[in-house]
Amino acid sequence: MMNKILKLRHIALIVSVIIIAIGMAVGTVCHFVSNGFFNYGAEFASYKSIQITTSIPEDVSGNKAKKIAEDALSSLGAYEVHFSEGTATAPNTVTYYFPMSASDDELASAVEDIKAAFEQQKMEDASAGVLKQTAVPDGGWQLGLAAIAVSCAAFLQAVYFAFRYKPGMALSSLCSQATVVGIYAALLAITRCPVGIQAAAFAVVAVAVTMICNGVFFSSVKNAFKDESNVKADKYELIAGSAASTAKVNIAVCVALAVAIVIFGVFALIAAPGAATLSAYLASLIAVVACAFTFGVFTPASYGLLSAIDKSNN
């Protein structure tokens, strides 16, 4: 398998570039015709909400408000629901969050139903209304800082690998870090998975996992090159052999991560059923896919290519 990947290393690299290019293209198109390069999550996105308030004397625990809201709004596809218990100076508040694409007419109609329910129950202090919440765009700087930190760390890893192993391995490792982030971003753009600040953290985790697996792979390659019994062996054979032997560790890492994410996702769904709950887990699964592709295919292929260039120069 690894031999095949190494033989088809050009294609493997081209596939990586194509995935990234498609992601960039989809993101760019969506930037102009849809909701942005990425489908930004709740932290960065504007939204509509229906806010229902009831005074404490009329609705001590807020249960009436919750019941009325549930009856009128449960079918409208809110992606999040919050309840805030009232205080001496503030009423009970139930807030249903909707994407900006939600129909104004449907929301307005639901609010009228709620107001009718208030009248029926003679709740004079209660109120309901549709609010448009426009996000203040500023989350980019946080993503930027995360990118700077990861870039610095990837560069340092490359420097470290250049001294510890070989310059070709360092370069290949650096390309892997760039590729894993590129593929992750491309897959997020293509799948339109909601991107919150957590997605930046998952990018860091993806780079870290790639660093771990690259470390295991290059150490194996170095040992294979050093082994006196391999002096006459073909370089590609050794790289393929190392990739095959470390693939077990790398596959185990990816499978373990994927299983863990699924377990967390299932329990999160139990806690709060709904598509919004899954967005963070979906982003993390995409990160795992990017990792698996990068160190399973890209890293051996890119190092194979660099070795070939090195060989031809010699």
Partner: protein, 519 residues
Amino acid sequence: MSKVKSAIITSLVVIAIIVAAVFGVASYNIGAAGRYNSIAANIPLGSEFTGYVYTTAYPEGVIPADRYVALTEEEQSSYEAHGGLYVNLGDSGYDTVEELESAVAGDAKIISSRFAARGLADYSVTVTDGLAITAAVPSGLTYAAYTGNSSVDRSNALNAASTTLGYLLADGELTLRTSDASITLGSDDEDDSSGSAVDMTRFEDEYTDADVLGDGSKTYSFVSVNEDVTEYFNSVSSFTFGGAHVVNFSLTQTGRERINYISTLAASSSSQTIYVCVGSTRLLAITCTSTIDSDTLQFTMETASAASDVATALNSVVNGGKLSADYADIESALATSAAGGDLAAVLALVSFVVVLLVLCVCAAIKYKKLGGVLSMSFVILSLVLLYALFILGIQVSYAVVATCGLVLVLFAAANLVVLGEVRAQCAKGKTMQAAVKDAYKRTLLPVLDIHIVILVLAIFVASVTHGAVAASGLILVVGAIASYALYWFTRLMWFVLSAPQRNKFAFGGFKREVYGDDE
């Protein structure tokens, strides 16, 4: 090593793990009134697990629906509906709704930049129907506080979050104030004769009657309305050193001279206090017993959070971040339910335990007794992470949970590399002890490599980024160090456990075939 020694060491380690695990995750009632809340229940949680605290700042003349319905019909007639809000332009001080919207939009950007500078794990700032600003920060509750099992912690966390919102949404001029209407100068004052009185009422301004101190008393600015106090300061920052949480003011030359004068007045006053206020929000009360003459001023505060809130708000105002619209006083901040559902936190812990169990079971099935040793290390690593989260006060979000998973992956990868090598050595016919010894020798540098690389990454992430990502970096630093330490601890435990059964058990399906090769 004898069997007895091996058994004693193993038992002690297992007992320590069990005790740490019980204190770590089990909460229980003690007697009728008391309750022990576990370490896990005392870790601050992110908004996914315990929700937000939010408030809305309404400009003068703008009210929400619940306030509108409480008005009389006559009062309602002066308001116009604007989306879900109601606006009375006469009270707002703006001629058109568009002008007010523009001012609010500008203010929202300033407020958002304040929240960003504050370095919170997570926050949101939105403009509501163009005319109000809603800001939310994580409640920062622990699970015990969220479920009502620690009312003091709940109250403290909600107060801290409300204070953060109050300070970062502060609008108005920066003023230095006193509650003393007249100040009798002491004899050490150079400008005024001994015993002369300074009438502070001449500096009455729009905030004099605002209840800045919360006791209904008036306050007066130390300087005239025309003087721009922001010119006194270059910047305001905060830091924590040796357990002290400090707000640090860097003064301009003008500021140094004026603070010298103001502190002389304050030291002569009966309250001996300078109140640092933004609009009607009092941010800091400086006790002043003598004249201050320095380029920097440093004041300690009770908590790092409070110091950071004050420094961020003041630094924003000092550097041109004054809000343009006048906002009504914020009456209350409300806590929401958890975004991930009420059971999100406990189910996340259950998920982690399930993942840990799966890892342990897989290790034990695949590598038999040595897998059991590895499982023990997995549990210890998880407990180290749990206690580190508690001790460092890291707010746990999805990102932090993912990072904890990454630490387990790091540890698993390091051990998989070793186990693979042990298996290879066993396949060559070596004894267990020889195989383990050889495997550790051969994998020494690769395992060190990956830990160094991850540690460097973690340090960069922790020091360069903010919020949830920085928190992830911090726990990754702890995790990388713990992983490497436990890697050697696993080696030790293999030695302890395998010593009494020298040459007697197989590893991962491979049985020793060649005898007498124990080096």
